[in-house]
């Protein structure tokens, strides 16, 4: 039974929430529209939500120049796959160990992890170590190793999940059957951990897909550019223009016939699309991870 007042209230909430949601997605709509506007119109009239002149030139251009863009895409995919697989494994192993009942060194291992949340050396020593001593500059490892592989937040998430979802009795039963710790981890714990593997994998995967800082710090070789770094380099060109905002450089005249303004936007969409396509299917793990992690971080 729903009263009239309640119906009106629900309608009002829906309208407010619709407006908030609109603010959230409207920049993306502008981005999509910009990518299918003719370049001339943008140069003349700027970005708009409903262009007078549609054009797929940007996508045609990307298709013609696919070598570079697909290469960057490949780098992003490779880094994301390796980083997520290795990172999730390290995170789960550490979390599993911390979820075990008392053993010598447990509290040290917990503190060792936890302290990284409180204190860090910062960019300068990290940068010097990775470049001068580990010589990671311009290598695929530079995109994978620094910063992103494992963090304390995800480990604590995994530990909390394992503590409450992998029954001690089950583990003890397996022990009595003579299973080794490794087998228990692989055959008893991991199958029960699917939801947390999804959540942690999602967090790590998203941070790799969106990462541009490792590229900025450690990579100058164009062969190793990820899609984010490619985008970053393209915006540097805009940066140059905006710094010389007073000089009358015509955007289209220096671009040599490339529909620059729209191509940028089209590449941004190419970088964003996979996330938007995958998200609806993994939303529930994402939400679970955020709400659980925050309550007991």
């Amino acid at each position: 039974m729903v009263g009239k007042g309640e119906r009106r209230y629900q309608r009002m909430l829906t309208v407010i929430m619709f407006l908030i949601s609109l603010i959230m997605v409207i920049p993306l709509i502008l981005l999509v529209m910009a990518s299918i506007t003719s370049n001339n119109e943008i140069v003349m009239h700027g970005y708009s939500f409903w262009p007078k002149e549609f054009s797929l030139d940007a996508y045609k251009y990307i298709w013609n120049e696919k070598a570079q863009i697909f290469h960057a895409y490949g780098v992003t995919v490779l880094v994301t796959v390796i980083g997520t697989a290795v990172g999730t494994m390290l995170t789960l192993l550490y979390g599993y160990v911390l979820a075990q009942p008392k053993f010598p060194g447990k509290s040290f291992l917990a503190f060792y992890l936890f302290f990284t949340m409180l204190f860090n050396g910062g960019l300068v020593p990290t940068y010097i170590m990775y470049t001068r001593y580990l010589h990671l500059k311009n290598s695929i490892a530079a995109l994978i190793i620094p910063g992103l592989l494992m963090n304390a937040f995800n480990v604590i998430l995994a530990r909390t999940f394992i503590q409450s979802n992998v029954p001690v009795a089950l583990k003890e039963a397996a022990e009595i059957d003579g299973a080794s710790e490794f087998r228990i981890f692989g055959q008893v714990a991991l199958p029960l951990c699917k939801p947390i593997i999804a959540t942690v994998g999602l967090f790590i995967g998203l941070s790799y897909w969106n990462d541009w800082m490792n590229g900025l710090y450690y990579v100058t070789d164009a062969k190793l550019f990820s899609i984010q770094q490619l985008l970053n380099n393209m915006i540097k060109n805009i940066e140059f223009l905006s710094k010389n905002a007073n000089s009358n450089i015509n955007v289209s005249s220096i671009s040599g016939g490339i529909p620059q303004e729209t191509v940028r936007m089209a590449i941004a969409i190419v970088g964003l699309l996979p996330i938007l396509l995958v998200f609806p299917f993994v939303q529930k793990y994402f939400i679970k991870g955020i709400s659980v992690g925050a309550v007991k971080g």
Binding site: L13, G46, Y47, G121
Partner: protein, 305 residues
């Protein structure tokens, strides 16, 4: 060593092996750079190596704090963070309360997807989005202003607009994420309290005002104190990429993180940037400890340690 202890150690060996990869990773990625803090107290000379470089005492810090930059970057970092905390908390709670009141599960899911989308976008793409709106020549805002016969605004050279722009973008990007946390807290509130209030004749607003908001207090305190502990850190991308590293905006957009990056990579001034880096690490550390101490006083179960 007695035999019982030996046995326990032996049983723990597989655990040590399992934890080893993560342990080594933290050693390299986190602990060795901590030792690197010593760089700030040296005149770094790579031909001599870090350990053999001459000691500089506190002179790097003296340079840092004598320059006007030190005050500016500290002020910007703290003020932006305070504004972010306040604005994001309010917006996130509003979103969470509305979502908790909407009956249709379907609608909640769709709205939730919409508010979460910004948190999935890399800051590089955010800077593209901002550019599409703000660009002096082609931006949507200036296009609209021009169409209305008003003067256009050169956003990327006018610092005065940037505090508002950055606060808006940060809220746009982060509020949906935080709203999930508040929504989880609201859904955890005992439904019987609402039912009892209803019997007593409470209106919808009463229920929000006297049940939901007070019940969110501990979540707000915990999250706020967590953020206060991070008040000395800023989102490098937000302050560096979104304003497009524009020199004209530096007074409004320079934070400790952008300062350290510019010093290290663009200027090659390692001593100065490492001093700023240590300043950030140490003050940050003290702030986390303080924030945690306060949390413990207020509600011990929410403290980090």
């Amino acid at each position: 060593m007695n035999s019982k202890k030996k046995k326990m150690l032996k049983r723990a060996i597989p655990l040590y092996i399992m934890v080893a990869p993560g342990f080594i990773y933290l050693l390299i990625n986190n602990y060795i750079p901590m030792l690197g803090i010593v760089i700030a107290f040296k005149n770094l000379n790579f031909s001599k190596g870090i350990l053999k470089s001459d000691w500089a005492g506190l002179s790097n810090f003296e340079y840092l704090f004598k320059a006007p930059d030190a005050f500016l970057i500290t002020r910007n970092t703290i003020l932006y963070n305070v504004a972010f905390i306040v604005v994001n908390t309010v917006v996130a709670i509003v979103i969470a309360i509305i979502l908790s009141e909407i009956r249709s599960k379907m609608k909640v899911k769709i709205f939730q997807s919409c508010v979460l989308i910004p948190s999935l976008i890399s800051i590089i793409i955010v800077s593209y989005l901002a550019y599409a709106f703000l660009s002096g020549r082609t931006g949507f805002i200036n296009g609209s202003l021009a169409a209305a016969g008003k003067d256009t605004i050169s956003f990327y050279t006018e610092p005065k607009y940037w505090p508002a722009i950055l606060i808006f973008i940060n809220c746009w990007k982060g509020a949906g994420y935080s709203s999930i946390i508040y929504l989880a807290a609201i859904l955890g509130i005992d439904q019987e309290m609402y039912e009892a209030a209803e019997i007593d004749g409470a209106t919808r607003w009463n229920k929000i005002r006297f049940i939901t908001l007070p019940m969110l207090k501990s979540t707000v305190i915990t999250l706020t104190l967590m953020n206060v502990g991070r008040i000395f850190y800023s989102d490098f991308g937000l302050f560096y990429q979104v304003p497009m590293n524009s020199g004209a905006l530096i007074n409004a957009t320079n934070t400790i993180d952008t300062y350290v990056y510019r010093g290290l990579i663009e200027l090659g001034d390692i001593s100065m940037s490492s001093a700023a880096c240590v300043y950030q690490s140490l003050v940050g550390f003290v702030l986390v400890l303080t924030a945690n101490w306060v949390t413990k006083k207020l509600s011990s179960e929410n403290a980090l340690f």
